[in-house]
């Protein structure tokens, strides 16, 4: 049985369809990535599934309980990590966890014990009694996640947990999410970054305009949007289109040029090995690029590819 099921969820804000027939099925114990640009409806999904908002249509169950009619049971089985770190900044880390633990119904002693366990797990024991306002962004996020795990929920919801964090803090959060899933909690993680979904999720759903437009493993999705990209930055703007044309001929792939960045981008279905072809072609042309970058498709490109197939609204 799936731990999380959403079928045909609808939510309107005035004329805007924030959720427009949203479907999702997540089996137990996995990390599922919900990928979408700003305004796609990711937060609305999370709020609907965590019983924070009423939907206008559709059904959803979390851990077997209906989010609309059995919200109390659902709340006992979920942890919510919202877009902002929702911890009390004046209090210390331990005080926060004890407070939330007691609100989850633990007695004083049990709440303290659980707080100490979580502080230890998340490497916050040394900072436990300092005010949260003195924590780094990553520490704050970890505390935030710890607060969502007090009752060892069946499902943990993370809404853009690394947006605004520096790379180091982001890595800390990623490690935390992996550990959480390893302990058997199902994780639904929203993100704007393909890279993040790729790193964490075993399955990804891409959403736009309130509904899913693609599902699959990270590998399958990337195959769907083509291979890696190589971007060559040309020193002279005047040469850009000339060089792009010659390169395209040599590589055998259409080139996308960007006048602002003086970049010529190729999709390389053959993967990394095709880079040598680009380099050779540059050599033959006698052009020394300012920069040469090999990279995965960006979310923008995933998006463009996927939405090209989507019927116009």
């Amino acid at each position: 049985m799936n731990t999380l099921v959403a079928e045909g969820l609808r939510k309107r804000y005035g004329d805007l369809h924030a959720l427009d027939g949203f479907d999702l099925h997540i089996p137990p114990g996995v990390i599922h990535g919900l990928l979408g640009p700003n305004g796609a409806g990711k937060t609305t999904v999370v709020k609907a599934l965590t019983t924070l908002i009423d939907v206008d249509g559709g059904t959803a169950t979390v851990a077997g309980f209906d989010v609309r009619t059995q919200s109390a049971q659902v709340r006992r089985r979920i942890g919510l990590i919202g877009q902002n770190a929702a911890v009390d900044e004046v209090l210390g880390g331990r005080q926060n966890l004890v407070m939330f633990g007691r609100l989850y119904g633990l007695g004083k002693a049990a709440a303290r014990e659980r707080a100490d366990e979580l502080l230890d797990t998340f490497g916050l024991t040394d900072a436990a009694d300092r005010a949260v306002s003195t924590y780094s962004g990553g520490m704050r996020r970890r505390l935030d996640i710890a607060a969502g795990l007090i009752l060892t929920p069946a499902v943990l919801f993370l809404d853009e947990p690394t947006t605004g964090l520096d790379p180091r803090a982001r890595n800390e959060v990623w490690a935390t999410v992996r550990e959480t899933a390893a302990r058997g909690t199902t994780v639904l993680l929203t993100t704007q970054y393909l890279d993040e979904a790729d790193q964490l999720a075993s399955e990804i759903s891409v959403m736009n305009h309130g509904k899913i437009i693609a599902n699959g493993t990270p590998e399958a999705l990337k195959r769907q949007v083509g291979g890696d990209r190589v971007t060559v930055t040309i020193g002279q703007r005047d040469d850009l289109h000339h060089v792009a044309g010659r390169l395209a001929e040599a590589v055998g792939e259409p080139a996308v040029t960007d006048d602002d960045t003086r970049g010529v981008t190729f999709e390389l279905p053959a993967g990394v090995t095709a880079v040598s072809g680009v380099v050779r072609a540059l050599d033959d042309l006698g052009v020394t690029p300012e920069d040469l970058l090999l990279r995965r498709p960006t979310l923008d490109e995933v998006f463009l590819t996927l939405t090209e197939k989507e019927p116009a609204r």
Binding site: T50, L52, D54, R75, A86, V90, L91, G92, L103, A131
Partner: protein, 259 residues
């Protein structure tokens, strides 16, 4: 988890704030004391009280009522901050009764204001204010003051849940001043231009201030009119009316978070 128990846990969070960051509440108290001294000694000499009496004894119950009313601002700010930072959403995603958040706010703010009242009472006694009535009336006066605080608490919860931006907080901070001054808290309505005086007499703050003066046995600055005759009744009726309006509005605003 019962709503009551959850409310108490959220109240304790607030008490823990005071221990961690005592300067905020201390400056708040000092501010009340400063207002008391400014009005009592700086302006006091220039203010006449119709019906006679010492200005400090007239002023004290007014300052108490004023500080209860100004509490609306701290309630609204606290509610708006929690909503903005996502703490309210975290509470709402937990298995606690839907009244818990408001109840926690009530517990915290009533405690806060009770302390403030105590400081004003002690401070007042130090600068010459006296209670000349019986203990029963004095206790009733204190209860009426706290009732006013309870009433504006619901206005604060409503405002904090409805207007969550920082600008809204500032608006409340500014607006409490004209409302506070357009009352008999600091000057007698009978020394104001007639229309202003009439307006001030109908300010709920004036009802509580006047009732407290009567019950403490202090000069009221009012010699005639509805307020003079029925201050205690008005000081009960106004806050109850405010609660009757703003508690349901607050509940509705809380439900509206469900979008």
């Amino acid at each position: 988890m019962t709503t009551l128990r959850a409310g108490w846990i959220i109240t304790q969070r607030e008490l823990a704030h005071w221990v961690r960051e005592p300067w905020g509440p201390i400056f708040n108290l000092l501010f009340s004391v400063m207002l008391l001294l400014v009005f009592g000694f700086l302006f006091g000499g220039a203010i006449d009280i119709p019906g006679g009496g010492d200005y400090i004894t007239f002023l004290l119950p007014g300052m108490m009522a004023l500080s209860m009313m100004f509490g609306v601002e701290s309630t609204a700010t606290a509610m708006a901050n929690d909503a903005r930072k996502g703490i309210t959403d975290r509470f709402r995603s937990m298995p606690i009764g839907s009244g818990s958040v408001a109840l926690g706010r009530v517990g915290a703010d009533m405690t806060n204001s009770a302390v403030e009242l105590l400081v004003l009472i002690v401070g007042g006694l130090l600068i010459g204010w006296r209670i000349t009535s019986d203990p029963g009336s004095a206790v009733l006066a204190v209860l009426l003051l706290l009732l006013l605080r309870f009433a504006v608490l619901w206005i604060g919860i409503f405002l904090g849940l409805t207007f969550r931006g920082e600008g809204a907080t500032t608006a409340v901070q500014v607006l409490v001043w004209p409302i506070g001054f357009l009352s008999t808290a600091i000057v007698s309505a009978e020394t104001m231009p007639a229309w202003l005086g009439a307006l001030a007499a109908w300010n709920p703050l004036s009802a509580t201030a006047t009732a407290a003066r009567q019950l403490f046995g202090n000069p009221t600055g009012i010699t005639e009119g509805v307020l003079a005759d029925h201050a205690v009744l008005l000081a009960i009726g106004w806050p109850l009316l405010l609660v009757a309006v703003f508690a349901p509005l607050s509940a509705r605003a809380y439900r509206r978070l469900r979008g």
